[in-house]
Symmetry: C2
Subunit: 221 residues, 2 copies
Amino acid sequence: MSIDVAAPIQRRPLHNELADRLRHMIVEGELAPGEKLAEKELCSQFGVSRTPLREAMRVLATEGLVLLTPNRGCTVAKLTLADLDEAFPIMGALEALSGELACRHITDAEVARIRELHERMVRKYEAGALRDYFKLNEQIHQLILAAARNPTLAQMQLSLSGRVRRARYLANMSPARWTRAVAEHEKILEALAARDGKRLAVLLKDHLANKLQTVQEALTE
Amino acid sequence: MSIDVAAPIQRRPLHNELADRLRHMIVEGELAPGEKLAEKELCSQFGVSRTPLREAMRVLATEGLVLLTPNRGCTVAKLTLADLDEAFPIMGALEALSGELACRHITDAEVARIRELHERMVRKYEAGALRDYFKLNEQIHQLILAAARNPTLAQMQLSLSGRVRRARYLANMSPARWTRAVAEHEKILEALAARDGKRLAVLLKDHLANKLQTVQEALTE
DNA sequence: GGTATGAATTATGAATACAAAATACAAAAT
DNA sequence: ATTTTGTATTTTGTATTCATAATTCATACC
């Protein structure tokens, strides 16, 4: 495999690279909520000076992943029950919209691709492989979002889901809940194939509402 | 008038202050879309060094108000027709949600306050005072948003509306459109007073859709 | 022993200094 | 005259330095 020598050379600014890495670390739970993020420590860890690191921190703060307290440094934002209660209805509304838009624009090829992923996901469900199931689940929602042909919407969804993603492992789905989620996905696929936007919107919104309920139950015990 | 000596002394970081000022300048159209924002120039204008200014720029960039091109500086983000097409449906979905939530939580006092503003707004309409009308209009939507009791939602709405706010003056409403907008607002108030969330959601969504149409017409000519 | 006070340390905020890239401009070549 | 190439200038990216606020820790006092 040779590299494309004609491809444009691109070097990203450090603050971009740093923001991406830190975002990933936070979203994937490598940095615990509430954890103090000391500048000096991170600087030596990444081998950069404080200036680009601080710029990255401002970005993460506006994204809501990090909490900046004047003169008192930076901590990983905590995810409270209230945050989830706030975020999920919004995600539901945005998903509903993306479903509606997707029905208007999606191609047969895209539907086929989603169907394929869906079937693989069902097999993961049958095999009880939760992690793989999640992964495919996410890809499906991603593809629906892409079919909506609205980058602004996609970006907002991504940002919001990044914030609540850390709660994912809390959604320790009961077998009953899991079965239901798969059934919901069947219907979602149906509606999408039929280009029934209104129905898909309702299904996606309810799907999100159910997910919230699962997470809430996991958190309150 | 004496100052409150017991009030906590608060000094904001410069980057916060700068972000606020620049955001205001962009949203209010004092800085033209596409305009180059040279660091040195802004630094001398605000009397600060480049460090806090650059931090503020990163924030505005993640908010989508400013475009950052590596090694090539910063420009005020342009507002394309596509941007509006993308943003308005999202705002519609969010407004619809906030309407639904507001119906669940709003107090009689808040409804009364909105009714008062509404009536003042109608009088501004009758007087043909567009600017005052806009101002009251905005306050009403703000109060509905507050009644939804969802700070995350409020913050997202605010951010999005900030981005499209610059297109406001384009919505050079025709008399017919203006009359219709007022009628829509009557119905919105009714639904709110009746706590009819579903109906309010539809009304707000349609209200936004109409606004988009107006702006589109203004832009395409 | 526990609390309060103040000096020393450490961390953050902001400005400056240095490095690298982009732009502007002038000179040379076609 | 137009294009190309090399150089000067400007602008942006990053590191370092200085200033200021917060924290820690030792000491004095109740």
